[in-house]
């Protein structure tokens, strides 16, 4: 086996995997706080990428201001979505929750396509591209930077859940909603924070995707590809999302590199089914045993 190729595949797999992890963390945050799985996460990504494109390329803002504006707008969208769509449905059955986020994804996609069209756009990359020699293999700087940024952000999120008031409140609500309520935790506030955070992490991932693969409609498919990641890691576990993202990213990259049949498109889903059969709560998820 050629070690150069192997290392390149590892780096590109890891950088894809870190983007998956970021998207997956958005899922996890929402799921932890409200037991809702957000099928519109891919559209949040799309929105993030196109907002960054609009602020930086169309309005000509410097990239630091543009990124900040993107994150703020994304947070606003998250808050609006939570208030108008999700809050009226608190306590409804799972199918309603799934369908409402699917409806949301369709609506958001239409808005993005309506504003910016479906053709891929050239994004003014602000993450420096170019190649460096890393452990004897040639890899893109942008790839390495994506891994670094994602690692920092994921660490921040992990610390958020451990140490901040809102993070602990979120864990409390996930654990027992009634008890959390009686301790004076505002569920509405926590849910709003959760959606804003999910939108922000998705926007960051969207900006990174825009830098590495460009701004195009295909970004939404990442939203579906993240399901194997969250299931593998455990739906309610931030470390799980990180590990799951890495594993799935690497797996895809190796399958794409060493086989020729396009098998990498379904390998994650095969993993997903295997995990569901053996360990439905994933590697790090909370174990809920219920037998019928």
């Amino acid at each position: 086996m050629d070690s150069d190729v192997f290392l390149q595949l590892t780096v590109s797999g890891l950088s894809n995997g870190m983007v998956y992890s970021l998207v997956a963390v958005g899922f996890v945050v929402i799921f932890k706080a409200s037991d809702v799985i957000n099928f519109a996460q891919g559209e949040f990504l799309l929105f993030g990428a196109y907002l960054a494109f609009a602020f930086i390329a169309q309005f000509g803002l410097p990239w630091s201001v543009g990124v900040l504006a993107t994150l703020l707008t994304a947070a606003m969208i998250g808050l609006i979505v939570e208030r108008l769509v999700l809050r009226p449905l608190i306590g409804e059955p799972v199918i309603s929750m799934i369908m409402v986020t699917i409806g949301l994804s369709s609506l958001l996609r239409a808005v993005v396509n309506g504003i910016w069209g479906v053709r891929p756009k050239a994004f003014p990359n602000f993450i420096p591209s170019g190649e460096v020699e890393f452990l004897g293999a040639i890899v893109g700087i942008d790839r390495l930077l994506v891994i670094a940024i994602a690692a920092i952000l994921l660490t921040v999120l992990t610390l958020f859940f451990r140490h901040t008031r809102d993070g602990i409140a979120m864990r409390a609500i996930a654990d027992d909603q009634q008890a959390a309520l009686s301790m004076g935790i505002s569920i509405k506030r926590v849910l709003a924070v959760a959606w804003a955070m999910a939108a922000i992490t998705a926007a960051v991932a969207g900006i990174m995707l825009a830098n590495t693969v460009g701004v195009s409609h295909d970004i939404i498919f990442i939203g579906l590809r993240v399901f194997p990641v969250v299931i593998l890691g455990g739906l309610d576990s931030v470390p799980g999302a990180i590990v799951g993202g890495g594993v799935i990213g690497l797996l895809e990259s190796y399958t794409a590199g060493y086989t020729t049949s396009g098998l990498e498109l379904i390998v994650p889903y095969i993993v997903l089914i295997l995990v569901l059969m053996v360990r439905p709560y994933g590697l790090f998820g909370k174990e809920i045993i219920e037998r019928v």
């Binding site: 799985i37 769509v85 449905l89 409804e92 799972v94 799934i98 699917i102 239409a110 095969i270 019928v292």
Partner: protein, 347 residues
């Protein structure tokens, strides 16, 4: 003095249509269905045929989701199996369509059993994700198994023949579709009043309680998967013969989503809801299209945003129904009926 309607034998008490008004409505519906093709333009006939196929698929999905409470995102995959099954049987083996369609439906039912196996351990969200994976895997197999399905190439199915007549026009195919759709609706309506249907509803409402009162939960879940996939495969097979062309783009995850939208908007766990929802989801894009064309002269830009408007309205309709009327169109229809039942002397 008697007020109200009384039945003096079990037969009329258990009839599917008991009230005079119900009977009148059913009669009116049947007459309407018979008269329709003689009055309709080809455009409307085409839409009616699409609605009939969608109704069969939606009833199938409703058995699984609305009655048994097992969420499935694999509708598109099952339709693909039905369509390719029927198409390949006809093209490769020369089987006539009245055999290929039920055979394809049976093949799909077996596939449904396989996909249903995880439902032994998985519920709700997890089952939805598992069926999503099944959808992706079936899509991959269809597009990559060139030897069997022709891969991404379209599979051309010859127009079916019945009594020496080629069923290649909307007007002729209408009769096949209407008869099958009515038969499916009747079958489903009776099924839900039987032991099996009640077991499904028990599993949906509380699976542990259902198990405690002696319902074989896993067996009935599998039966629901098989029955549902049979009907979904049937609708896929009909689609193959109706369109006389099978391509994988017709059976993507988008299809799964629009069928889920049909039963949500129509009303979970109702047969009339399956029909209403199918009609709305088929007619909505067609109407927006017509509207866009009529605006073409005054607002030429309308044509370019049309696809996005369709998509956006689709999403918006789902959200609005879930937030404002979770029980769907079937509930609205019930409200109308309730209003007129004692009209004009309500209260």
């Amino acid at each position: 003095m008697e007020s109200g309607i009384f039945f003096s034998d079990y037969r009329s008490d258990m009839a599917l249509r008991r009230m005079p008004l119900q009977k009148a409505r059913t009669g009116l519906l049947l007459v309407g269905l018979v008269v329709f093709p003689f009055l309709a333009t080809p455009y409307w006939l085409n839409l009616a045929n699409q609605i009939a196929i969608a109704t069969i698929g939606a009833i199938g999905l409703n058995i699984l989701v609305g009655y048994t409470g097992q969420i499935s995102l694999g509708q598109g995959a099952f339709m693909a199996i039905g369509a390719y099954g029927a198409g390949l049987l006809t093209v490769r083996l020369g089987v006539p369509f009245y055999i290929s369609i039920p055979a394809a439906a049976l093949i799909t039912a077996v596939a449904g059993l396989v996909v249903g196996l995880p439902s032994l351990r998985l519920k709700g969200l997890y089952l939805a994700v598992a069926t999503l994976a099944a959808q992706q895997i079936v899509e991959f197999v269809v597009t990559h198994w060139d030897g069997l399905t022709g891969g991404t190439e379209a599979l051309v199915v010859p127009a079916p023949e019945l009594f020496g007549a080629r069923m290649n026009t909307d007007g002729r195919f209408y009769w096949i579709l209407v008869v099958v759709a009515l038969a499916v609706a009747l079958f489903a309506a009776n099924l839900f009043r039987s032991r099996v249907g009640r077991a499904w509803v028990a599993i949906r409402d509380q699976d542990i309680a259902a198990s405690a009162i002696g319902v074989n939960v896993f067996g009935y879940k599998l039966l629901a998967f098989a029955t549902s996939s049979f009907l979904v495969g049937l609708s896929g097979a009909l689609l193959a013969h109706y369109r006389s062309i099978v391509t994988w783009e017709r059976f993507t995850i988008e299809v799964s989503i629009s069928y889920l939208a049909m039963i949500i908007i129509g009303g979970l766990g109702t047969i009339s809801g399956s029909f209403f929802g199918a009609s709305l989801i088929v007619l909505l894009p067609a109407m927006i299209n017509t509207l866009g064309r009529s605006l073409q002269d005054t607002a030429p830009w309308a044509a370019t945003v049309l696809p996005y408007v369709q998509q956006g309205v689709f999403g918006l309709v789902i959200i609005l129904f879930l937030v404002l009327e979770p029980e769907g169109l079937a509930k609205l229809w019930r409200n109308v009926k309730d209003y007129f039942r004692v009209w004009p002397f309500s209260y």
